[in-house]
């Protein structure tokens, strides 16, 4: 297979992996969701990755500030949810997102990704303390974070009512926390909860970087 080679670089950035390897990786090998992107999409993502990873610190890795800058155009803007996404993308837990991690994690957001994987990713996102459950206090913390982010003020009673109502609907066995099965059932009843888990742009990304599509000599593998 052809080898990707940038004429402007003498050595590959740390974290770079062969596009064909990433496009063909199997879930059981890495315990990750199936990759749902093609080779040319991986190449286009690499261009995006390079832009993000060198925006503040030119080391070829995405740091938290660079992630925040990309999302909010403001490297100092804190956001609980963006932090949670960063933590989940950082598969190796080493404080940076490498290219392979970036591609694998974004794969869940592809329109063709399995619904099961989207539901699981959302569950892990909301499980703030990684206990394997969504606890009531975690949910309340997230509601408060959203209200703060939006400069909204609701009374404590109102917040308790919203959280209580949601828990009474979602917590089927009444043990005071939501497990993965309850979460799956709840999402089935309210599919809009995972609409953020799909990025239509991932289907169009090759259109945004035409030079890489026309430049590639690798045949797209079939999904």
């Amino acid at each position: 297979m052809g080898c990707y080679c940038s004429t402007s670089k003498k050595t590959e950035a740390q974290g770079y992996e062969e596009p064909t390897v990433l496009a063909s990786v199997t879930p059981c090998e890495y315990h990750d969701p199936s990759l749902n992107v093609t080779v040319s999409e991986v190449e286009a993502l690499h261009e995006l990755y390079k832009k993000l990873s060198n925006s503040i610190i030119e080391d070829g890795l995405i740091h938290r500030e660079e992630f925040q800058l990309a999302l909010f155009r403001n490297k100092n803007k804190k956001n609980l949810f963006a932090d949670r996404i960063f933590d989940l993308f950082d598969l190796k837990r080493n404080g940076v997102i490498e290219f392979g991690e970036f591609v694998r994690s974004l794969g869940v957001f592809h329109p063709n990704a399995a619904l099961e994987d989207k539901i699981t990713f959302a569950f892990r996102l909301y499980d703030l303390r990684q206990t394997g459950f969504i606890e009531r206090e975690e949910l309340k913390e997230m509601v408060l974070a959203l209200l703060h982010e939006s400069d909204l003020e609701l009374s404590d009673d109102m917040i308790e009512t919203i959280v209580d109502k949601t828990f009474s609907d979602a917590d089927i066995n009444g043990d005071g926390r939501i497990d993965q099965d309850e979460w799956k059932a709840f999402v089935s009843k309210h599919p809009s909860l995972i609409k953020n888990m799909t990025l239509p742009y991932l289907k169009d990304i090759t259109l945004a970087f035409p030079s890489f599509v026309t430049g590639t000599d690798i045949e797209e593998s079939e999904m």
Binding site: F81, A145, E149, L152
Partner: protein, 451 residues
């Protein structure tokens, strides 16, 4: 119908005349989109809707739009013009049960099957709050499989006012199936009256003639009120026992559906149907019954090409209730589309929170739509749609505003362009939408800058 050539509401191609029922004409028609054959039943609107009956009629027809039962003719759609109301109904190809009986009485086992299906259908509707009030063989159709189909559930209020005119209109339909309490006109329970009518029908199926009949109408009424009838000699003792309890002139002691089903005569060969469930009525997945709402709007607001979604009536909207996870998901931290700064295909989405009641938002949108008469307003559950009357080069500009309830005093509104030219949208947004919405906004959560 004659004036509109052969196309109804841009949806149905109307074919040949099928017949004249009670004050309604029935035509064969074909759905232009699906090719499905339907029966279109046409009523004159204002002259038949009795004052005070409108809300009950609307409620019952709305329920019938949702009912599914193998022995009930499906009501597909309701449409209206200024003067007429149209019902698009399932086409039943076997003919009327009346035709079979007019050729002589049925065998007991055949009559029992039809009666079982009739009671199943009537019980199903009663359990959902819909009565028929006009049960008689002409409303009992038989499909190509030989199964019964009851038609015109929920439509009786359309003809009630005529019956109240007195005796002059009995030519079109015999009152022989009417319950005693209906004749007495002191108010009655529609469900109990339906049971009486089922009893008369059963008698006719088995006997081949009416239990209460007289050339003199007043004499017929007297017989009905007193339940003065005689069984022919060939009636079995079991069916006699059942009919005595159904044709009880006192509605309070008359047998009910549950006891009918338990009776020995009824149970022979009876196969209980699985319970049919009403579909859930939550806003996001409810079956569309907005055509019923539109059809019963004030006639002065309707026009002859009115869309089933048109409804300027200020009825309470059914909003999707945000749960805590819905609330969290609107965080900008969850929106990864910002990673793709060159995106050209994103939805045109604006979102804000508001303390104003939904009715204020809706009124403001209606005012904007009326500017230059540019947009048609359509409302469905929590969605208000602005649809341009004239199609531009890129199609009609269509904008949805969806209102979500978080608490009774706190709502989230999302405004989205779903069709049409983007530049036209942003022009409209900057000039009309955003300035008006600003008055409603508590906090702008998000809106896209023009690109």
């Amino acid at each position: 119908m004659d004036n509109k050539a052969t196309i109804l509401m841009q949806k149905y191609e109307v074919g040949h005349f099928l017949g004249q029922g009670n004050f309604a004409k029935v035509y064969h028609a074909r759905n232009l989109k699906t090719g499905q054959s339907v029966a279109i039943k046409v009523f004159n609107k204002e002259s038949v809707i009795k004052v005070g009956m409108k809300e009950q009629l609307k409620r019952e027809i709305s329920l019938m739009r949702l009912v599914r039962h193998p022995n009930i003719v499906q009501l597909h759609e309701v449409m209206a013009s200024k003067t007429k109301i149209y019902f698009a109904m399932e086409m039943v190809k076997g003919g009327e049960l009346f035709y079979k009986v007019s050729r002589g009485r049925l065998r007991e086992d055949v009559a029992r099957k039809y009666f079982q299906q009739l009671i199943d259908a009537v019980g199903h509707c009663h359990s959902r709050g819909v009565c028929h009030r006009d049960l008689k063989p002409e409303n009992l159709l038989v499909d190509e499989n030989g199964d019964l189909k009851v038609t015109d559930f929920g439509l009786s209020a359309l003809v009630e006012s005529r019956e109240n005119d007195g005796l002059l209109h009995t030519i079109c339909g015999t009152p022989a199936y009417v319950a005693p309490e209906v004749i007495k006109k002191k108010g009655y329970d529609g469900a109990k009256a339906d049971i009486w009518s089922c009893g008369v029908i059963l008698f006719v199926l088995l006997a081949g003639f009416l239990p209460f009949n007289d050339k003199n109408l007043m004499q017929m009424y007297k017989k009905i009120i007193k339940a003065d009838f005689k069984f022919p000699h060939w009636f079995s003792s079991d069916v006699k026992m059942l009919l005595y309890r159904i044709l009880d002139p006192n509605p309070k002691t008359r047998i009910g559906i549950a006891k009918i089903v338990q009776s020995r005569w009824f149970r022979k060969g009876y196969v209980q149907l699985e319970a049919f469930q009403l579909p859930p009525l939550s806003p996001r997945n409810a079956k569309d019954i907005s055509d019923v709402q539109a059809a019963f709007a004030s006639s002065s607001d309707s026009d002859s090409d009115g869309s089933p979604m048109s409804n300027k009536e200020d009825s309470p909207m059914k909003l999707y209730r945000f749960n805590a996870f819905d609330l969290i998901s609107i965080s900008s931290g969850f929106d990864l589309s910002g990673l793709f700064e060159d995106n050209q295909n994103g939805r045109q989405l604006a979102r804000f929170t508001t303390r104003k009641p939904p009715s204020t938002i809706v009124s403001m949108l209606e005012e904007i739509a009326q500017i230059d008469g540019r947009f048609k307003i359509l409302k469905k559950n929590g969605v208000v749609r602005l649809e341009e009357y004239k199609a531009g080069i890129n199609g009609q500009l269509t904008i949805d505003a969806e209102i979500f309830e978080v608490t009774s005093s706190f709502h989230v509104v999302e405004v989205t362009k779903i069709a049409g030219n983007t530049l036209e949208y942003w022009k409209f947004w900057d000039q009309y939408l955003k300035p008006s919405l600003n008055e409603m906004v508590w906090v702008w959560q998000r809106y896209e800058q023009q690109q």
